[in-house]
Structures are given as C-alpha cells and as structure tokens.
C-alpha cells in the first residue's frame, strides 16, 4: 500500500491566509460548477452523481496489484471526469470530500476549501485536459493514462505547495521523498484508470457512449490553468528556498533556473512575510480570483465562435 495517493489536508496544517483564501475561492467555484453540471445533465440527476460517489468509495476496496507484491487502489478523480464530464465530476468529488471530512475525519473542515480546490477542481480539470484534447483520437489510451496521472500529480503538488506556503517545515530530503511517492502514485493511478476505462468500454459500451460528452474548450482551458497553477505551486515551494536550492543542487541544469527564480522571489517573500496576515489573505484571494477570471475570460473567448 502506498502511503498516500491523495493528500487530504487536515485542519491545523494550513495558515489562516491559505485556508481562508481557498475557502473563499474554492467553495463558490464548486457552486458554479454545480449549476453547470445541473444544466449539462438535463434533469436533476443528483441520484446518479451520488451513487457514482458511493462507487468511488466502494472501488477503493478493490486492490490493484502493483509491482513487487504491493497493491494500490483507485483514487477516481480522472475516472469520474472521463465518464461524467468535468463539471459533474467536480461536484461528485466535492461531495466525496465533504463526506470524508464530516464522517471519516479524512481532511479538515476549514481545509475543505483547499482539498476541494486541489482534488475536486484542479485535479479534475487537469484530468479533463488530456482526455479532451486526445481522448477521441489514436492516442486515446495515452490520453487516459495522462488523465489519471495528471489528476494525482496536480492535486498532490498543490497540496504540498499549500503546506509549504503555510510554513510547515519540510526538509529537502522529505520533500524529495514526497515527490517520489507522488510520482509513483500518479503512474499507478494512470495505469489503473486506463484498465478500468477499458473494462467499462467492454462491459457497458452504452455508458461510455453517453460518457463522451460535448467538447468544451472553456473547461479545457481551465484544465490547462490547473496544470499551470500546479507548476506555479513549485514556485510557491520556493517560500521554502533551501528545498528548491537543494533540488537545484541535485540537478545541475536546474541550478541556474532556480537562482533565476529564487532571487526575485526571496525579496518578494521578505516583503510578504513582514505584512500582517490580512494582506496576505487578500493577496492570495486576489491571485486566485485573477486566475479564475482569466480562465473564465479565455473560456468564453474560446467557446464563443462555436456557439455563434
């Protein structure tokens, strides 16, 4: 069993600016997606989404053999995005995370916004991106693998950068260990997702036929935004500069890039840390809102010619 294939952040880990900013932005985003999912699914298909959420819980009891006698289980974000579409998948993931937080103490309540943002929004959109772009073509299998792997990597990277931004001390060696774990979990999730989607295609082709929903460029752009944001999370990780420098030292090529980014960021951080947390929260919220608005604007621009 791998340590974690999905990072549910408990309460008490994130600093106030971080959880507040993510609650303020993540939860309304889900409300928006809930409205969209309701529209896409025509009638109130709440029963379907709820039962699919229960399925993801139950599917975690099925052990998938991984190399060397270990086993792993399905995380499910990518599978939901592929079968239900991204908006509905985000709603189901949010419902799963809410039940996990309230009933199973897996993830915190104040940290629910962060967990929803990492897994329910960014993870689902990151999975949707490759499937949307290449899922119908020759590289379908690769696209499904990428969907599974990206969903895990993006949510894990975001979670770790949130922890680092909250000044949870993670030594470079520990960070490297976490990154290796996430890399392995991501590959495993990719393989499992491919296998399960192929199984579903064989057993119930009707569902997969239903499950190739209309192509939405807006959401694909949001997905690209999610991937970029996770990459930027690596830069946020430089609030813990020695970790990044250590990694840079390990990989000599990265060394120059690191100093390139670390120099301006160090100053930025110093200015930031001096300010009270309210301004940090405001800055964080503003940043997240800005990314959201850019995503919406790009999405609108990309979808307009198609609907006209």
């Amino acid at each position: 069993m791998l340590p974690w294939d999905s990072v549910h952040i408990p309460d008490g880990f994130l600093s106030t600016p971080v959880w507040l900013a993510l609650d303020v932005t993540g939860l309304p985003a889900v409300a928006l997606l809930a409205r969209r999912a309701r529209r896409e699914l025509e009638e109130a298909r709440a029963p379907l989404l709820g039962v699919m959420g229960a399925f993801v819980f139950a599917a975690q009891m099925i052990n998938f053999p991984v190399a060397a006698g270990t086993s792993a289980h399905l995380v499910g974000g990518a599978l939901l995005a592929i079968t239900l579409g991204p908006a509905a998948a985000a709603v189901v993931m949010t419902a799963i995370l809410a039940v996990q937080a309230f009933v199973f103490q897996d993830g915190g309540i104040l940290a629910l916004g962060a967990n929803v943002f990492n897994m329910g929004i960014a993870g689902v959109l990151a999975a949707w991106l490759p499937y949307h772009l290449w899922g119908a073509g020759r590289h379908r299998r690769t696209a499904i693998f990428a969907a599974g792997a990206l969903s895990v990597v993006v949510s894990a990277l975001l979670a770790v950068s949130e922890l680092l931004a909250s000044a949870v001390p993670v030594r470079p060696a520990a960070l490297a260990f976490l990154l290796v774990v996430f890399g392995v979990s991501a590959a495993v999730e990719g393989v499992i997702t491919v296998a399960v989607v192929r199984g579903i295609e064989r057993l119930s082709p009707r569902i997969v036929h239903n499950a190739t929903p209309e192509r939405s460029w807006g959401l694909a752009v949001c997905g690209a935004g999610a991937v970029l944001l996770a990459a930027a999370g690596g830069l946020v990780a430089s609030t813990n500069p020695d970790a990044l420098q250590w990694l840079g030292g390990q990989l000599d090529i990265l060394g120059r890039v690191t100093t390139l980014f670390a120099a301006p960021l160090a100053e930025y951080r110093a200015r930031w840390l001096g300010s009270p947390w309210t301004s940090k929260a405001a800055a964080g919220t503003a940043g997240a809102l800005l990314v959201g608005l850019i995503c919406i604007a790009l999405g609108r621009a990309a979808t307009r010619p198609r609907s006209a």
Binding site: F64, A95, R198
Partner: protein, 236 residues
C-alpha cells in the same frame, strides 16, 4: 464499520443531540477557527481546547474513549509531518500540528456523532450550501453502504472461485463491473424516485426551528471558544 457507529451515536439523546444542526455547525466553525488561529500552540492552550471538546463529548453522552480513538485517524498524516518538523528541528511546530489536527478531528466527530447526516446536510443547505450539492451528498451517503456491500460480495465471490490475488485485468474488470452495476442502480433509483413525485428536494418530517436553547447554546459555545482564543492570545 466506522459510519455505522457514527450513525448509532447520532441517534442518541442529549442536550447536544437536540440542538439545531445550523447552530452546531456555526459553533464548530468558531471553535475550529479559534483553534487554527492560536499560535503558538502552548500545552496550556492545548489542554484548554481539549477540555472544551471533552466537555461537549460528555454533555452529548458519547463514549469519550471510543471517540478519542476514532479521532486518531488523523494521526498517520499529522504524525508524518510532525516527524518532518522534528527532523527540521522545529519541536513546537510538531506539537502544534498533531494537537491541532487531532482536536479538530475530535470536534468534527462530536458534531457528526450528535447530528444524523440528513439533518446535518439540511443545516448546511440552509447555511448556504447549494441544494444540488447537498442532494448529491445525501445520495452518496445513502448508497455508500449499499455499494460497499456489493463490492464486498464481489470480493467474496472472487475468493470463493480461487481468485486470492487478482491480476491487474481482473481487478479492473471487477471495478468496471461495479461501475456498470452502480450506474444501472442509479438509473433505477432515479426512475423510481421520479415515479414517486421526486422534485429535487428531500423532505424532512419537521422543519427545523431555532428555540431559545439553541440560541443559548450558540452564544455559550461560540462565546466560550472566542474567549479561550482571546485568552490564549494574551498568554502567548
């Protein structure tokens, strides 16, 4: 199973069980915010916050030891990062991570152990959570047990046929079968509900109403947590 125990706890009778779900959610949030914003987390502060949760658990007539044990589910995660903090030489941070996450989990368990999920979800709905989402949560919780049991039956069947250790394709086939069955079940449920006049809202037998005791609990609980936070602020 965990949620079966919670289900039994939440049907109990006590002062806390009888309170309105909205009030309990608000008091929980105030407590969690107070706990989260207390820095540094001194042992005295930890003891005071723990006493507050313990008082709530006793008032709810929930088993203190059983609840404390169940709240320990956060410890593997918290412990790992506490270990990282120790390795980084930050002992107070390690203590704060473990105590804050553990006390938060205990507080959430106290809410879940005194409020049946339908009431809790209805409370969240009237606090502003979108109805579509609360509906999905309710269906998820309702069928969690059903689908898990089906998965268990499938595992048993595989074992009985000599499938001790599944190969990747077998495991994927099992997951795909479970998916197809869940999907078909969902469609059946939806059709049956529509036939019985479902219009997108779960009906409760009685609409929740705030009583004087609820207001009292709100003021008392939230006030106590706030006072504790302010006291800890000056202590620190």
């Amino acid at each position: 199973m965990h949620h079966v125990v919670l289900e039994r706890w939440s049907r109990g009778e006590s002062f806390l069980h009888a309170r309105d779900a909205r009030v309990k959610v608000v008091v929980l949030l105030v407590y969690l915010v107070a706990l989260a914003t207390t820095t540094p987390m001194t042992p005295i502060a930890g003891a005071c916050y723990a006493a507050l949760v313990a008082a709530a658990i006793v008032a709810a007539r929930l088993p203190l030891a059983g609840l404390a044990l169940r709240a320990a589910t956060v410890l593997p995660f918290a412990g790992t990062f506490a270990l990282f903090s120790l390795l980084a030489g930050d002992e107070s941070r390690a203590l704060s991570l473990v105590s804050k996450s553990y006390l938060s989990a205990a507080a959430v368990l106290t809410l879940a152990g005194t409020t049946p999920l339908p009431k809790l979800v209805r409370g969240l709905e009237s606090l502003g959570v979108p109805r579509f989402l609360t509906l999905v949560i309710q269906f998820l919780y309702r069928y969690l047990f059903v689908i898990s049991e089906q998965a268990q039956h499938m595992r048993m069947a595989a074992l009985a046929r000599g499938g001790g250790r599944l190969r990747m394709t077998h495991a994927a086939g099992a997951a795909a079968t479970l998916f197809g069955r869940s999907y078909a079940r969902a469609e059946g449920i939806h059709g049956a509900m529509l036939a019985r006049g479902f219009h997108g809202r779960m009906e409760l037998l009685a609409e929740a109403r705030l009583g004087p005791a609820d207001v009292l609990f709100l003021l008392g609980g939230a006030g106590l947590a706030t006072a504790l936070r302010l006291a800890m602020g000056t202590l620190a």
